[in-house]
Amino acid sequence: MASTVLASGTAADRAPGSLRRYRWWLLLIVLPVLLIAGGKTGLVSDFQFLQLSLMIVYSIAVLGLILLTGFNGQISLGHGAFFAVGAYTAAILIDQHDWPFWATLPAAALACFVAGYLFGLPALRLEGHYLALATFALAVAVPQILKYRHIEPVTKGVMGINVFKSDPPFGLPLSNDQWMFLVVLAIAALMFWIARNLLDSRTGRALIAIRDHPMAAGTMGVNVAHYKTVMFGISALYTGIAGALHGIIFEFVSPDSFRFELSIAILVGAVVGGIASLPGAVIGGIFVQVIEKYADALTKKISAAVQLPLELEPWLIYGIALIALMYAMPTGIAGGLAALWRRLRRL
């Protein structure tokens, strides 16, 4: 069921002689132009650009998990760990080795691919729930490891590292946050394009076959172990790049930024967005940033508006939203919207 979302999407994209193929690319140009214009006139503040950038960053992280879980059938509760590795790689290279920010991205990608690939090797022996638990342990361990006394000179321990992003190049008349928003958007577009082509290839079909029936895939000559470990590496690479971008635009990393709640948030983002859908990753990223961060403020506002006599738990709205979504749209928001669209067209 989940794969139909992807199939219908790519079929539409390929419709011959149609402009619809380019509609997403068009959106990619029009949207930032409008936003930058908004920023110039003061309608969109720098802080809002940061928020938008964070949404895109989380979308890349969610995409990494969707590739692994949605298309390859491996569950991970530990992607926050790879996010942290990416962020720290970037922060340490910028802060202590004076690298330009763009050069840290390939380094973070490589570090995370290696980490993910190595973690994927023993994880091969673990299926389903056991893999989930092993990855969860990773997510719990990483913040502690970052505080470890003997690597504190490098990680700066619990106090974290301040990162400073460079000014826009060529004297572009943009603020830091506007410039980084464009950079993050371009990188995200590239990452999504690569992911779509990957899934649309022989490799992608092998990955999906492994998800649907590993034994059958093996019988057809797919090297299951190889694909699974490489996929774990690629997934970690995606999340690591997201982490590096997060460190760069947020200008600060600390162990507290990458507690295990982050891993859960990425998983929730993937499920809410649509676990086997690329547009789902975008929705998931927005969900992580908006609902996660503002559930607390929203709860307060609502209880103040209706003048509730009791104090609500900050996570109440988050929980209710999650339960409601899972009932109303079991295939995630992307799947739910696609189903809704099909029904509307039939009317």
Binding site: S45, F47, M159, E251, F252
Partner: protein, 405 residues
């Protein structure tokens, strides 16, 4: 003729220009200030392991409500915007960026905690937004040369650490010292001061244990410290862990000379949860009149504070030091803003904050005054020692100033 006309016109234009600048010099505003409003930003842990400090934020909010009810400061209402950061630095960074870039506050005030303030230290100084009277006593907040936009308020931790070290050396026979500290710059700052105070006797420290602010308990650390055979204990912990440490030490029958850092002297938030029995004999340093100390029952400041609590923060804890702290620090800020007058630029706010001479602030222990200058960004630099007896703190000894120098 033509020339004189021209000159006359020129002089007129010049005069006009002068009056225009004179008029604009009277009222000057940066972001967050106007004829009717002053916007102040704040972050505080209202949730999480350090949520006991949430009382400070609520007190400050109540204080400015009182100010606004009385007509504001120089006719301007105070808009106090406070966000929960849960004592987590990344959350502080996000909330402070929101305060500066979206809420457009004039300055940030009383952001709480050493790790959270460290995370925003460089950002605010790069943006030239005052980070005023931070709620932490780390010694790094008083560096006007490197960080001209950041100022502390309470006595710094290093000074306090030195005072305890000297007291141990003078009063504990054959001291063997155990230390429990939070594993961050707050803990390290106290510990460094303490070691400096011990000087050549630093080898008297027999065991140091640390904890993370996210840890659920510190029971095992206390047991390890007891087993070291120490007879003096320097307890560098935030309220939740201070209460746990006092309680656990009492439960396992460890009775060292117990020195508790000033950040956890709140009777309502620490001694009561730990048990008054377990808290007997604790030694700490204070600079604020404790609301549970009967010697201040007839004090005018205390009466004014109680009336304020009844009216503006009725469900606040009147045995806790956090509302007295919030009241005193808000009074200091109100005085700074009053002196800033109509020149509400960020620069002038810092200038006024850095030129307080012998300022008397309500609820400070008699004899302690606030002094700052362009080179001295440590407003309060004096404390008195106090011992916990019965249900309250009892001050003893003289006012101690600049012990670290």
């Amino acid at each position: 003729m033509r020339l004189s006309k021209l000159m006359l016109a020129g002089a007129g234009a010049l005069a006009l220009a002068f009056t225009a600048t004179a008029a604009s010099a009277q009222k000057k505003y940066d972001d967050g200030a106007s004829d009717t409003e002053i916007r102040i930003g704040h972050t505080n842990p209202y949730s999480g392991p350090a949520s006991a400090y949430g009382q400070i934020g609520k007190t400050i909010e109540a204080y400015f409500k009182k100010v606004n009810d009385g007509g504001g400061i120089n006719g301007r209402k105070i808009t106090f915007i406070s966000y929960d950061d849960g004592y987590a630095p990344p959350k502080t960074v996000e909330m402070v960026r929101k305060l500066v870039e979206e809420d457009k506050v004039l300055f940030v005030f009383q952001t709480l905690g050493t790790p959270p303030n460290t995370a925003i230290h460089k950002y605010l100084n790069a943006k030239k937004v005052p980070q005023l009277f931070v709620a932490t006593g780390a010694s790094v907040w008083g560096q006007p040369k490197e960080y001209p936009w950041t100022m502390g308020w309470q006595p710094d931790y290093q000074t306090e650490g030195v005072i305890y070290a000297k007291h141990i050396l003078a009063n504990v026979k054959d001291p063997k010292i155990a230390v429990l500290m939070q594993n961050d710059d707050y803990g390290r700052d106290y510990f460094n001061g303490f070691k400096r105070g011990l000087g050549k006797d630093a080898n008297k420290i027999v065991q140091v244990a640390t904890y993370e602010v996210a840890d659920p308990t510190i029971d095992s650390q206390i047991i390890a410290l007891k087993n070291s055979g120490a007879n003096a204990f320097f307890n560098i912990t935030t309220p939740k862990f201070a209460a746990q440490a006092i309680k656990k030490a009492h439960e396992i029958g460890w009775k060292p000379a117990h020195y508790l850092n000033n950040v956890s002297v709140s009777v309502g938030s620490v001694m009561k949860p730990a048990g008054l029995e377990a808290s007997q004999g604790l030694i700490s340093a204070g600079y604020l009149k404790d609301p549970t100390d009967p010697q201040f029952d007839k004090d005018a400041d205390m009466a004014a504070w109680r009336a304020f609590m009844d009216k503006f923060y009725p469900n606040g804890d009147k045995t806790s030091t956090f509302p007295t702290y919030g009241y005193a620090v808000s009074s200091t800020l109100a005085e700074v803003l009053k002196r800033a007058g109509d020149n509400l630029t960020r620069e002038n706010v810092m200038k006024q904050a850095a030129s307080m001479k012998n300022l008397e602030v309500p609820l400070l222990i008699p004899g302690i005054k606030i002094n700052t200058s362009a080179t001295d960004f440590y407003p309060i630099q004096s404390v008195r020692l106090q011992r916990f007896e019965g249900a309250t703190w009892h001050l003893f000894g003289d006012v101690l100033s600049n012990e670290a120098d």
